[in-house]
């Protein structure tokens, strides 16, 4: 029996597949040798590149501690900083909007699009826009939304979702992309030359940058003291989206904020080095307002949409709040043995991998997502590489506990107790009592060794892929006694 979840405030499906199907999807992914090969290769490549960026362990330790400190400091002042950011952006001429749910965020942006009679929105990379299913919401209202990051463009053309937060099309081979371009882009012949493929994408998208009515982007860091939106990118599409169209809309989660401009220096450095193993990205774009009197280009209007969507729930709990330290580098997935084997799509959530396992329950509720935290060996690699030192393994254990504990009043999370099973809970309670009392435990182990032949051969999930467990013929304590 599961706990009745509180109603999610948004009626729209945020997951693009049901998390209930997670086991079947993971099974399929593990049995796909092509997928495993491409992810293994890509993750090995990214791990080696990251390692090469941190030859000096002391520098890495110091920078991680500083980055963690900045993120925790920012979160400790979050409501104050949001108000400061709003005041400074407003002073700079940027319109600030607030949205609690994906529906609210989409409605705000659709309203802006309608006011400008927009036909085409050209998009820079934004995982928050994926989180709220922005493209679907716009298309349903008759407004085109076109991805312009090369990886995102490929994924959208293929009718798919990103499989990695930094490298969205990492699951596709160049041959698959070549076939896709030849099929979907008029006048394009098959070529699997990467330079030629990029040239094709460039030509298609340049026309769109020129003609789009609105540009949409995410935000990497929002600086409260100056009212500045910072964007990290290599391609230049982010600059195009935020510079060429008459209107720029930026969307971000409420947590992506720092107080001081100088706080972005260490965060930017550790972000690019952790993400793709680059010393620096090609562009760091700092936007502090729309076109001013005298300016010759830039958007005439700039909007920022601040999205909650479950983040305030994570914020309310001191331990879960650490989830919000994330700067979305993707290093946790690059180093995750589970992600490497199943790829990003199997998770069925916008954010895959370790960060997805700890953030998705806040965005979607535990009812839909409680299995995610169990898809981990708790090896600890994610926590070790995290540039802002989020204790991801600890949080996974916490989420397992939240999902499996008996429903109670004032839960920390929507869907608390979603995986609660009274029978299993009873067995564990008995085990805990047995284990806590030496005399009963001795008696139990004495009986278990004597009657080991009675152990059932079928042990539910355990024997699905393993030989049955059986107590040893002699107890450890007896063997130790013999040695003395």
């Amino acid at each position: 029996m599961s706990h009745q979840p509180q109603q999610q405030s948004s009626g729209q499906p945020i997951a693009f597949v049901s998390a209930q199907a997670l086991r079947a999807r993971m099974h399929d992914a593990v049995n796909d040798p092509h997928l495993r090969q491409s992810f293994r290769g890509a993750m090995d490549f990214l791990m080696a590149k990251r390692a090469a960026q941190f030859p000096d362990q002391d520098e890495l330790d110091s920078l991680r501690a500083l980055s963690e400190g900045i993120r925790q400091y920012s979160l400790s002042k979050l409501p104050d900083l949001l108000e400061q950011l709003e005041a400074n952006l407003t002073r700079n001429g940027v319109k600030v909007h607030w949205a609690e749910t994906p529906d609210e965020a989409n409605a705000i942006m659709l309203d802006i699009a309608r006011r400008h009679s927009a036909k085409l929105i050209v998009k820079g990379k934004s995982m928050v826009s994926e989180e709220i299913e922005f493209n679907h919401a716009m298309e349903a209202a008759g407004v085109g939304a076109l991805e312009s990051d090369m990886g995102e463009y490929i994924v959208q053309l293929a009718g798919e979702k990103p499989s990695h937060i930094i490298m969205p099309a990492i699951h596709q081979t160049k041959q698959q992309i070549a076939k896709l371009f030849a099929e979907k882009i008029p006048g394009v012949d098959y070529t699997d030359n990467v330079d030629a493929l990029i040239r094709i994408g460039r030509n298609v998208l340049r026309d769109k940058f020129e003609s789009a009515d609105i540009g949409l982007s995410g935000v990497n860091f929002a600086v409260a003291e100056t009212g500045t939106l910072c964007l990290v990118e290599n391609e230049g599409n982010g600059r195009m989206c935020t510079t060429v169209p008459k209107v720029h809309i930026a969307i971000t989660g409420i947590e992506k904020i720092v107080e001081k401009l100088e706080h972005v220096a260490p965060l930017y450095s550790i972000l690019t080095r952790s993400a793709t193993g680059q010393a620096v990205s090609t562009y760091f774009n700092m936007i502090s307002g729309p076109r001013k009197a005298g300016d010759k280009d830039g958007p005439e209007e700039v909007h920022l949409v601040l999205l909650d969507n479950g983040r305030s729930q994570a914020y309310a709990d001191e331990q879960l709040r650490k989830t919000l330290q994330c700067i979305r580098c993707g290093a946790c997935m690059n180093h995750c043995p589970v992600y490497t084997r199943i790829g990003g799509h199997a998770y069925g959530t916008t954010y895959p991998g370790p960060i997805g396992k700890i953030i998705s329950p806040h965005l979607m509720g535990l009812e839909q997502t409680h299995l995610l935290a169990t898809a981990s060996s708790l090896c600890g690699a994610c926590g070790e590489v995290c540039p802002v030192k989020i204790p991801i393994p600890e949080l996974l254990i916490r989420l397992r506990g939240e999902a499996n504990s008996a429903p109670h009043a004032n839960p920390a999370m929507v869907g608390q107790g979603a995986a609660y099973d009274p029978k299993i809970s009873f067995v564990w309670r008995m085990w805990a009592r047995l284990y806590a009392r030496p005399a009963t435990y001795r008696a139990f182990s004495w009986l278990a060794t004597r009657f080991r032949a009675l152990t059932p051969r079928k042990q539910s999930g355990w024997t699905a892929a393993r030989t049955p467990l059986q107590p040893a013929s002699r107890r450890l304590r007896d063997m130790v006694k013999d040695r003395r």
Binding site: E59, S62, L63, L66, G69, S76, L78, P79, D80, L82, E83, W98, E100, E104, S148, M150, G151, I154, M167, V194, L197, I198, R199, R202, F209, E210, T228, N234, E235, G236, N237, R239, M240, T243, V244, L261, E262, A265, P266, Y268, T276, V280, T282, Y283, F284, N285, M286, S288, K292, G294, D295, K296, D297, G298, L306, D308, S312, Y315, A316, R321
Partner: protein, 224 residues
């Protein structure tokens, strides 16, 4: 109650009574100060930005316009857009550019958008400075040098004064006190536009310039 008020109320209810102590950035950066000479900073900048596929040419205050003209001819730049109302822009003379039409930016972007996207081969800008640690140029947009000048044309020529190269981005933010007043758009640029989104294969000229060419002046002597 508005969404804004509901979000802020929820956060305020959970906010720690005391904020954390302000992070100590100096504790990280001060022990790592290199104390480089100007020449060493220039060398490090150059190694960095060349590793990102940018071209670097050392010239002088007197000679750079002629070098730029020669580079334009070599790269078959038929039209180059630039900001005329800058100290560097005023040094450009059509007479020294036999192979290239110099076009000063004039008017709002809407008036020259089609040309900018389809007929301009190169854009020329000054730079505010550079960062040695990462091989990065700094550009501040201005009335004279709009944002798209360094973005849309396939080649970006950038003029850099070696005296303005700083060790790190942190040093820049501190010593130049950027927090006191930023332009509409401040940019860090490290090489031409690129992507590795297809099978981790690096390709240049994704959406922005395919080539970044840096001309360095005042490379000699000590920093002022």
């Amino acid at each position: 109650m508005s969404a804004r008020d509901r979000i802020l109320t929820k956060l305020r209810a959970a906010q720690p009574a005391q904020p954390n102590a302000m992070p100590d950035l100096d504790a990280h950066y001060t022990p790592r100060v290199r104390g480089e000479s100007k020449a060493e900073r220039l060398a490090r900048f150059r190694t960095g930005i060349e590793s990102f596929h940018a071209e670097v040419h050392i010239s002088s205050e007197a000679d750079w316009p002629a070098l730029l003209a020669r580079l334009c001819a070599d790269k078959q730049v038929a039209t180059m857009l630039y900001g005329a109302d800058t100290p560097a822009g005023q040094r450009l003379d059509q007479a020294t550019f036999p192979a290239t039409t110099l076009r000063p930016w004039s008017g709002q972007v809407e008036e020259l958008k089609a040309d900018l996207f389809h007929r301009v081969d190169a854009g020329f800008t000054q730079t505010r400075g550079a960062i040695a640690e990462t091989g990065t140029l700094m550009l501040w947009s201005s009335e004279a040098e709009p944002r798209t000048l360094s973005l849309v044309p396939p080649i970006h020529f950038a003029l850099l004064d070696a005296d303005t190269i700083q060790p790190t981005f942190f040093d820049v933010l501190r010593t130049e006190n950027w927090a006191a007043g930023l332009p509409t758009n401040a940019l860090l640029i490290s090489g031409p536009s690129k992507t590795a989104d297809i099978q981790q294969t690096l390709a240049y000229g994704a959406h922005g310039p395919k080539e970044l060419v840096v001309i360095v002046i005042n490379a000699e002597g000590d920093a002022q």
